[in-house]
Symmetry: C2
Subunit: 295 residues, 2 copies
């Protein structure tokens, strides 16, 4: 399950409430494209902005629409008791895996983060993915902590923070692999460098773009996992204008604007105060979408 | 109200629920010491970790125990609609001012933060304090944004992020003062540099230590606001061993451990996964508390 392509769809909102019909159509598209895993309620799915009830509802809708494809959801929250409740909710709904980021207000110490994963790892019955995302959590794993957490029971994968470039991916992935249990897969986030990371040995592409365009990202993932550098580079090239916008504005604001511009979500689809791309950047995105046809 | 000494008490928890009796005793102590403002539900009061219902209850308990001293609370939340609800709750309970930090999961853009303050400033009927705390929110105000937000209606104060040293406070406070409306007071957080900041012209000490020891911090505040450098330095000197721990471990973990060690809160009093000081650092704190008597 923590292998191949995991697609992270948006949770489109209308006035703060989930636009359920639109959300289900996004999930149906992912199921039809046969992604390996459907991951609603990642950062792209605005998990941190939704109530426990909203998260339970989105999880249930996802499982109903995902056919036989495994669904995983994030159980991140500031409080440990909330995390454990969210894990219970998700497991009862039938998720096949859980993502957990060290969400922080008071930045967590390494010891606090370790204890958090320890408590959750012992409490859950489906595998857990360590969700490393310092840009949103404010928390940075030391290599030592990451390896210690990965050796806890029930850890299935690590969603690594984005690499700065191909060279960093090529250096870091084999080094991590040597330190980690063989049962823990390594996943790459940060769509712009993901092709390189897969070629360097990552097992999973935790992808934002696949939430909207699973077919092209499926092809890119398959080529990179097969070690076909030329084909992966060609498929990645098509996304370069989009990656450039991801790098400058963050993937969430870009993918939300893309969904709005393509008529796949009603504008504005993000929770306030977040705004999808506006103004000149939105016009640039529109031009990219007209030039490239993503599927 | 946004002048002099504003004390930020802990919200002691037992198994995730507020220990109300203990909390009320902290507020009564602040009222007896005649601080200028009582500020429950700041970062020290764990606002970000509490539900809407818990925050309403803590606010009501504070107002009941504060006698005639004004109470202000933080309305920070990730979603704008939640912020507006929290503001309504707090105003109906009778708070005299509101603190708002640009709490983030997806780091806010400067434009998103401006719009957030604009919406809230126009919606509230009591004055608002801009709560700048990049260590917890992950958001950094540009000087331009800070000044633009300060010119919105209903802005009463800015709780500035901690200064690195006295020289920075002496440079930054007069510069900001020239840019800001005269109706907006400047407050200092970061207890270790607060004495210097008051001597440099800040109007308010937004203090963590005063939540537990309001009398000594009242004396320090009064001396510094009166421009009595020698007296302020002498009073500050007494806290230097505590400030050293604040610098190394963050004020929250230290003040929580101090409350536990002094029998002012039952251990553990912080929301999990947060831990008050443990091990060697806790022993150091204990030694400081035995050596210095804080009031």
């Amino acid at each position: 399950m923590f292998k191949g392509l995991a697609a992270f769809p948006l949770t489109p909102l209308i006035n703060g409430r989930a636009d359920e019909k639109t959300f289900v159509s996004l999930i149906e598209n992912l199921a039809a494209a046969r992604v390996d895993t459907i991951a609603p309620l990642g950062s792209t799915g605005s998990y941190a902005y939704l109530s426990r009830e909203q998260r339970a509802r989105i999880t249930a809708l996802s499982i109903a629409a995902a056919e036989d494809i495994p669904v995983i959801t994030s159980i991140g929250a500031l409080r440990l008791d909330d995390i454990l409740q969210l894990a219970d909710d998700a497991q009862r709904a039938g998720v096949r895996g859980l993502l957990l980021s060290p969400l922080s207000y008071q930045p967590l110490s390494q010891e606090e983060a370790y204890r958090l994963y320890e408590r959750v790892a012992h409490a859950v019955s489906v595998p857990l993915c360590i969700y490393d995302n310092p840009a949103t959590t404010g928390f940075t794993f030391t290599q030592e902590l990451l390896c210690a957490v990965a050796r806890l029971p029930n850890i299935g994968s690590i969603k690594l923070s984005p690499f700065s470039d191909a060279a960093q991916a090529a250096a870091k992935i084999p080094a991590l692999r040597r330190e980690l249990p063989a049962t823990v897969t390594l996943g790459t986030s940060g769509d712009p460098q993901a092709g390189s990371a897969l070629l360097a040995g990552a097992d999973v592409f935790y992808s934002v773009a696949a939430g909207l365009w699973p077919r092209d990202i499926r092809a890119l993932t398959d080529a990179a996992l097969a070690g076909d550098e030329a084909q992966a580079a060609a498929l990645n090239e098509k996304f370069e204008p989009l990656w450039e916008l991801f790098r400058r504005h963050g993937s969430l604001r870009v993918i939300a604007a893309a969904a709005e511009l393509c008529g796949r979500a009603a504008a504005p689809c993000l929770p306030e105060p977040l705004l999808s791309l506006q103004g000149e950047a939105r016009a640039q995105l529109q031009a990219v979408l007209e030039q490239q046809e993503y599927h």
